[in-house]
């Protein structure tokens, strides 16, 4: 009896300058298999379905439990994490492609450093005085913690940016993930000391007004961040800040 098989089609590209092509792989099915374990299998036996020798697939991965944010890719057309993409839940052949909105490095690996640059631009941190012992932090009621904690769960996977129609070179839009971090730090009792600067950073071109409320971000987020409500809240604050700045000038 033939063993149960899993078929994957993976978009390969040796470097940014090389052309891309699809390769088809047929693997033995195993219970609990995910897209990552399929790629590990290919690495141990790098041969395509038609028997041609190839190279192991290059892709980013680390924790394999959907918390490090590394392995975002397009699987059957949808931006998602490869580790939590269980083969049994996917239609075959499973089509695996790199994210399309970021510079390609090789195969499924892309350069997502723009997100980290955006976090710098909005000063996504609490500007503490120093790391020496200055006593206890501020009291924070559980209700506030329950608002902040989901926002601090963002794993920087950039899925929200990949699916956003406004996230492209034309707009320079920062994307939902960065805006959610602005809300997180503006809500923090010490972090809010930089609130006005963060809002101004989101006020210009590529800022929050680029959002077209397509709401794709909130649907695709693997950690279910309340992205659209964060964008609404920060939008309102940016507007208020603009008005304030207008009267100040």
């Amino acid at each position: 009896m033939a063993e149960k098989k899993v078929t994957l089609e993976i978009k390969r590209q040796a470097s940014p300058e090389d052309p891309s092509q699809w390769e088809r792989f047929e693997l033995d099915w195993r219970p609990g298999m995910n897209v990552i374990s399929a790629m590990m299998e290919i690495a141990a036996n790098p041969v395509t379905a038609d028997g041609r020798a190839t190279t192991p697939v290059t892709y980013d991965s680390n924790c394999l439990e959907e918390i490090c944010g590394s392995c975002a890719m397009r699987i059957n057309g949808k931006a998602r994490m490869a580790c939590s993409s269980l083969v049994d839940n996917l239609e075959q052949p499973i089509k695996v492609e790199p994210l399309s909105k970021f510079p390609l490095v090789r195969d499924l690996q892309v350069d997502r450093s723009v997100l980290f640059e955006n976090l710098k631009a909005v000063q996504a941190w609490v500007p503490i005085d120093g790391t020496y012992d200055l006593g206890a932090g501020p009291r924070i009621l559980p209700q506030q913690q329950e608002v902040s904690y989901p926002l601090s769960n963002c794993i920087s996977c950039t899925c929200c940016m990949e699916v956003c129609p406004q996230f492209n070179e034309g707009t320079g839009f920062v994307g939902a993930a960065t805006i959610a971090q602005v809300k997180l730090f503006n809500d923090n009792p010490i972090g809010r000391v930089l609130k006005e600067e963060r809002l101004r950073a989101l006020a210009g071109d590529g800022g929050i007004q680029e959002c077209g409320f397509a709401q794709n971000c909130v649907e695709v987020c693997p950690k279910q961040l309340p992205l659209t409500s964060a964008i609404s809240d920060v939008s309102r604050d940016v507007l208020l800040q603009k008005v304030k700045d207008l009267f100040r000038s």
């Binding site: 141990a44 192991p56 439990e65 450093s113 980290f116 000063q123 206890a136 009291r139 559980p142 769960n153």
Partner: protein, 592 residues
């Protein structure tokens, strides 16, 4: 004199903690990491971080934390550094709180604390069940702040290959590989801090992340650094077995009241929820009435092994037991444990709020690591180590929620010490050994790329993982340990025949992996041989043929050094600092 240059390798909690302290003290840092630092393995820590803040009116003290840690580690840890760590813990929690970590709160707005294994106190601060993620992000944000201010330069996507040592054996920099362009380069530094994490990959599948290969530790070990207590490997009692890895199910599940049980009758076919209380065996609660489900990890792991393999009571005859949270209301579970419940739900497809989870022990942590002195320096001058990659804080078994603490604490102290060391370092003679080290590395790379063998590195790795998991985890026999060492020697031999299926010079993951694999193999021998020679049982190291702890012979740190000879590492033993607590028998049964 030019401003001292410090290199930190590794961007997890320990590395970032070191970077922050150096930058704050006015130094500048080059930070190297295989992955963007925000994706480091610290992100996987779930349950919490220990500090005796005593906010629950229990009379907890830092001394009790110290005693629990030493006792939990079966007296193998040097006591003075552990004492200092426990004393520093409350202020570290306050600092993290000020950095904006979204810790869970009490109704009064104070930090909430929960219980963890190996203690009777609520001593663990937590942010849901994603505490490691929240702490890593807090430190990542502070480092980004220093980066924006020009104090820190990040080299993300670079892998450490070796230290550059001068003619006197003093560290003068590192060599590293750009994982995209495959460029080999050396970087000058007056001091190096290795914060390169765990070694899970030598066991094939573990709870560790992909980057936790121990390659950096092994490389520096092969350059002359001592490796200490390598045989002490923590197998976490509650993991979800998987095809690609073992996913951790945090100890906090038991800290919040989770109960471990099996059906009393072997082969009981009923669904877990149909099995009445009378037919369930809560074996941890029965065997350890005082600590119950919160015995330390080594104890819980051995108990699960016993129930499955000696009593034959694994669920459906499989090596699995139930971890049950279904008696706790959903709102509480979501508030305190959501992160881990989601992991179970996503990867197993069953809601653990409704159905008991099926779990089994899995390799999780190395208590052993690079030998360091009380100033976090290895025996190579100028090479420091902090975090899981060094051996200092956990003895023969680590208590849950002490790892985040030891990472941050060791990072915090190593940063300023390294900076001071660097300030007083005399200038190097000549080029400090850079050209010679680059040449050595280029030769290794060239040989690997041109090798025309037949062995696939990923397949060799699987064989290594199988032998290490079979012989060098929960139950150890000298016969099996010898077999494991022989198998590693065979794999080292076959590695000479390795054939990369990818020889390109752009983002070549097979090449980087093959380099790691060689180092994994060398390190595996340290673990296997350390276990072989330690004829006693202590903490996580358990030999049925030597079931008792033997303080007379083995209340000692194992120190391995690289020989380059076929027989493998040379092992010697060093006295343990027991300056504060007289070693006593460790037992978590009715009384202690």
């Amino acid at each position: 004199m030019a401003a001292p240059r410090i290199i930190v390798v590794g961007g997890g909690l320990a590395g970032l903690a070191a970077v922050i302290k150096i930058a704050e003290a006015g130094g500048t840092v080059d930070l190297f990491s295989i992955v963007p630092v925000k994706r480091s393995h610290s992100v996987c820590a779930q349950g919490g971080i220990n500090a005796a803040k005593n906010l629950k009116g229990e009379g907890d003290t830092t001394y009790k934390h110290f005693d629990d840690t030493i006792y939990g580690g079966d007296f193998l840890a040097n006591q003075s550094p552990v004492k200092a760590m426990c004393e520093a813990a409350p202020a570290i929690i306050d600092l993290l709180d000020r950095m904006g970590v979204t810790f869970n709160r009490t109704p009064e707005g104070l930090l909430d604390f929960r219980r963890f294994g190996g203690t009777l106190y609520n001593r663990t601060a937590f942010a849901g069940a994603t505490t490691g993620q929240q702490l890593l992000y807090a430190l990542d944000e502070q480092v980004r702040r220093f980066e924006a201010a020009g104090k820190v330069k990040k080299y993300e996507g670079w892998e450490f290959l070796s230290a550059v040592l001068d003619s006197k054996g003093v560290a003068r920099g590192i060599t590293a590989l750009d994982l995209r362009s495959m460029e080999l380069r050396s970087f000058a530094a007056d001091a190096i801090i290795l914060a390169t994490g765990g070694i899970g990959a030598i066991f094939g599948k573990s709870t560790n992340s992909v980057v936790c290969t121990g390659s950096a530790q092994s490389a520096i070990f092969q350059q002359g650094a001592h490796y200490a207590n390598g045989e002490f490997i923590q197998v976490h009692p509650t993991c979800i077995p998987g095809e690609d890895k073992l996913r951790l199910m945090s100890e906090s599940a038991r800290g919040e009241g989770g109960r471990v049980w099996v059906p009393r009758k072997s082969g009981d076919k009923r669904d877990a929820k149909q099995i009445p209380e009378a037919d369930r065996w809560y074996f941890l609660e029965e065997w350890y009435p005082k600590y119950g489900n919160l015995v330390p990890r080594d104890v819980a792991t051995r108990a699960i092994h016993k129930v499955v393999y000696e009593h034959g009571l694994g669920i459906d005859g499989q090596p699995m037991v139930y971890l049950d949270l279904t008696h706790i209301d959903r709102a509480t579970l979501n508030r305190k444990l959501e992160g881990i419940l989601e992991i179970y739900e996503k990867f197993v497809g069953v809601d653990p709020r409704d159905h008991p989870m099926k779990i089994f022990p899995g390799m999780h942590y190395t208590m052993g690591g690079l030998w360091v002195d009380f100033n976090q320096m290895t025996n190579i001058p100028g090479v420091f180590a902090a975090g899981e990659c060094e051996y200092q804080y956990h003895g023969a078994n680590r208590l849950g929620a002490n790892s985040l603490l030891s990472c941050i604490y060791a990072g915090f102290i190593s940063g300023p010490i390294a900076l001071n060391y660097a300030k007083s370092l005399p200038a190097a003679e000549g080029d400090g050994g850079h050209a010679a080290e680059i040449k050595r590395q280029a030769e290794i790379n060239g040989a690997l790329l041109s090798n025309q063998g037949t062995e696939n590195p990923f397949k060799l790795w699987r064989e290594l993982g199988q032998t290490m998991t079979e012989h060098v985890t929960v139950i150890r026999y000298n016969k099996g340990l010898k077999e494991a060492d022989e198998k590693i020697v065979e794999l080292l031999e076959r590695f000479k025949n390795v054939n990369l299926s990818d020889r390109s010079q752009w983002a070549n993951t097979s090449f980087a992996f093959a380099r790691q694999l060689k180092n994994m193999l060398e390190l595996s021998r340290v673990v296997a041989q350390g276990a072989l020679l330690r004829d006693e049982s202590r903490g996580a190291h358990y030999k049925p043929d030597f079931p008792e702890r033997n303080d007379e012979k083995f209340l000692k740190t194992t120190k391995a050094s690289f020989t380059g000879q076929p027989e493998g590492p040379r092992l010697e033993y060093e006295e343990v600092d027991t300056a504060h607590i007289q070693p006593r028998r460790r037992s978590y049964e009715a009384s202690n």
